[in-house]
């Protein structure tokens, strides 16, 4: 589904990702871990198409297409979803209006008829219960005045509505208390099928107690230095990133 080869990305002329290789297949859950500044969020932003992240080398194939050739909105319409680390507030734009526009833009792209207001509201009610999101939140402006936890829940709620093929969750666990973490993780697990895939980007192993990954990759200084199964995450938690440094022989 997703095949990243030798991806190099620069921000303001400075190379952050120095040759990433990663393959994700349908039905898989991948975790990308790494210390601060290792390039985790850069990977997420580059895949979503943020133009501040310049791809200098490498290829990304997504569902047989050249992902880097698609505009950010077309990447989304092709089923790529990014759960933002810091979801932005959009005052004045109601959640309902925002989400209905998003869904109908996606449907238009696929040559489907727009969803009627009634059908949309029904769909929204259905997905709301999945992430235990307050009814009140969806009647407000996008993320406006939401608490940190509510914003993250809202990301998962949007993911549930848009039904992406590939979800990249960028530090979705940061700033969540244990209850919110459980709700978010449950949401992700319930949305999992054998046709979609998830890439969970996280700093801590904690989230991986709830979302069990098939593969764990350690990102360090712009490269994936170690890959393994969920045990790798546990080892990493115990031994710290210093252990990776020693294991891989990469200097600070």
């Amino acid at each position: 589904m997703l095949n990243i080869k030798n991806l190099k990305v620069a921000v303001e002329g400075k190379e952050i990702l120095k040759g990433i290789n990663l393959e994700v297949k349908p039905g898989e859950v991948h975790a990308v871990m790494g210390p601060n500044g290792s390039g985790k969020s850069t990977l997420a932003s580059a895949l979503a198409g943020n133009e501040n992240y310049e791809v200098t080398e490498g290829t990304v194939e997504y569902k047989g297409k050249d992902l880097l050739d698609l505009s950010p909105e077309n990447r989304a319409r092709e089923g790529l979803f990014l759960g933002f680390q810091y979801p932005v507030e959009i005052p004045g734009v109601s959640m309902v209006n925002f989400l209905r526009t998003a869904i109908n833009e996606q449907r238009k792209y696929k040559n489907e008829d727009p969803l009627s207001a009634g059908d949309f509201l029904k769909l929204m009610r259905e997905k709301k219960s999945l992430v235990e999101i307050d009814s009140d939140l969806t009647s407000r402006s996008v993320n406006e005045g939401f608490s940190g936890g509510e914003k993250k829940k809202n990301e998962i709620f949007q993911m549930a509505l848009l039904q992406p093929t590939l979800s990249i969750l960028d530090e979705t666990d940061s700033g969540l208390d244990i209850d919110a973490l459980r709700i978010v993780a449950n949401g992700v697990n319930k949305l999992k099928t054998d046709k979609n895939a998830t890439v969970v980007i996280t700093h801590y192993q904690r989230l991986l107690d709830y979302i069990v990954p098939d593969y764990v990759h350690v990102l360090y200084k712009g490269k994936i230095v170690k890959s393994g199964d969920k045990q790798l995450a546990i080892d990493l938690e115990e031994k710290g990133y210093e252990w990776i440094r020693q294991e891989t022989g990469i200097e600070v």
Binding site: A48, G49, N50, F84, I90, G92, V93, T101, A102
Partner: protein
């Protein structure tokens, strides 16, 4: 020789303006320039009564003593008032034989606004059949209005048919001495609308929706007078969301509203005149004086405007709250893009007791434009318990545009409560990216954000107007980001 020379000089300097007004009225278009003969000729051409000719002349003489105001936050190239034509017979509008000859860009905009084909033809100047739907619609509605005693006609017709009403109210809200442009308009006004709602009558329809095509060609110096008698109600729509390609560069209009006891007048405007091209060339200068007086107790006047056009906008729809418990409202969205400049706002003058006013102004600037809100809330001594709330928000797209707020508050009564809130915000790249990432392209995203921002004002527009205005905002800002 000397006497011969003197004779020639005398002839040249002493003779009347060579297009004396008696010959003027034979022609369809007057020569350039403004003088008393031109003013008299306009009046004569329109077969106006003497009092009106006199009114125009007084206004002209007063205008001569005035200077163009310079206090606005506008950069206006000098206007040569003697280089303008002040009267032209209404033109036959049909410029094209079929819609295929019209600029496709214009048609594209019409389609985006969802304007029906027949109406597109009218607006673009294509010859159409006389049996067009809206014509018969117009007739039907004119009959309905007449049955209720409502007068709705052109200003010129009103002068002929209802001279007493016109004489009584014209200039009572905006006297010709009011300001430079009001004086100019009073001297040379071409035509406009007159609307009279008798006692106790609620006008059953939005006035001018069904007439908007016909109302489109009202000319350069428009004059509107609306009189609402006791216990009456009217909602009046001015303008049109379709782009207006007008050859006149200078527009100076006057709108006067008189609301008697318990009367309510809602006045909605959508202005979309040619704003000039992307480099700031051309475009209309729009200098408007709009004012309403809540003359009777418990009356209400509400202004709603969506301003997206014109190169220069100078406009302050205002309310004089004379009657006790009267209410004045001002809801405005002003969009400027490219090199457009707008200085707009309102004046709320509280005279009566328990008078209330609400001001909601939403400025949106993009490109290299300048957008200013200028407002005055004035509470006079006798205005016990007057109450005002003003909210002025500015939204910036990009970093080359400007937004300015000039609020003036003058309260001479201790019991008055005057509140002012202001915010400035920007559409951020991160907001656009967030929308992109959910499959919403940049232009749709800006549309969503801008409409969300302007919602409070758009909600005040009559339904079908609001939908068009929403699309209009999106079109006006096309290409302004990225």
């Amino acid at each position: 020789m000397a006497s011969e020379q003197d004779k020639i000089i005398n002839e040249v300097t002493g003779s009347d303006y060579k297009f004396g007004f008696e010959t003027l009225i034979e022609t369809e278009t007057f020569p350039k320039g403004l003088n008393e003969d031109i003013v008299k000729a306009i009046s004569k051409k329109k077969k106006e009564p003497d009092w009106l000719t006199e009114f125009r002349l007084k206004a002209y003489r007063h205008w001569k003593t005035m200077k163009m105001p310079e206090w606005a936050h506008l950069n206006i190239p000098e206007i040569d008032y003697n280089d303008l034509i002040y009267y032209a017979a209404p033109k036959q509008n049909a410029k094209y034989e079929s819609i295929d000859e019209v600029d496709p860009e214009l048609i594209d905009t019409f389609n985006k606004l969802g304007i029906p084909l027949e109406e597109q033809k009218q607006l673009a100047g294509v010859a159409v059949d006389a049996v067009m739907d809206s014509v018969s619609v117009k007739t039907t509605f004119t009959e309905t209005l007449a049955d209720l005693g409502i007068i709705f006609c052109s200003f010129s017709e009103a002068v002929q048919n209802y001279p007493d009403l016109v004489k009584k109210h014209m200039g009572s809200v905006v006297p010709y001495t009011d300001n430079y442009f009001a004086a100019l308009n009073s001297a040379v006004f071409s035509d406009g609308s007159f609307c009279y709602i008798p006692k106790g009558v609620r006008c059953p329809m939005e006035l001018s929706t069904y007439f908007r095509i016909n109302a489109a060609n009202t000319g350069q110096f428009e004059r509107t007078l609306i009189v609402a008698e006791d216990d009456s109600y009217v909602s009046y729509l001015e303008g049109c969301t379709a782009p207006q390609r007008d050859e006149n560069q200078l527009h100076a209009a006057i709108v006067e509203i008189v609301a008697m006891e318990r009367a309510e007048v809602k006045y909605s405007t959508v202005q979309n005149w040619f704003p000039g091209d992307k480099n700031g060339k051309g475009g209309i200068y729009n200098f408007v004086t709009k004012r309403g007086i809540c003359k009777g107790d418990n009356s209400k006047i509400s202004w709603t405007q969506v301003e997206t056009g014109s190169a220069v906008t100078w406009k302050y729809p205002s309310c004089i709250l004379k009657g006790d418990n009267s209410v004045g409202e001002f809801y405005s969205v002003a969009v400027t893009n490219n090199f457009q400049q707008a200085d707009t706002g309102t004046k709320m003058t509280h005279i009566g007791k328990n008078t209330k006013s609400i001001v909601v102004s939403k400025g949106i600037s993009a490109g290299k434009s300048e957008n200013s809100y200028r407002g005055l809330v004035k509470v006079l001594k006798g205005a016990e318990s007057a109450r005002n709330f003003s909210q002025c928000d500015s939204l910036l797209l990009g970093d080359k545009c400007g937004a300015h707020t000039f609020p003036y508050l003058e309260a001479d009564n201790d019991t008055a409560i005057v509140e002012h809130e202001a915010t400035t915000s920007k559409i951020g790249e991160d907001q656009i990216l967030y929308c992109n990432q959910r499959g919403i392209d940049t232009e749709t995203a800006i549309g969503l954000i801008v409409n969300g921002y302007a919602k409070e004002v758009l909600n005040k527009l009559p339904m079908e107007f609001a939908v068009e205005a929403q699309k209009l905002l999106e079109i006006s800002l096309e290409g302004s980001v990225g």
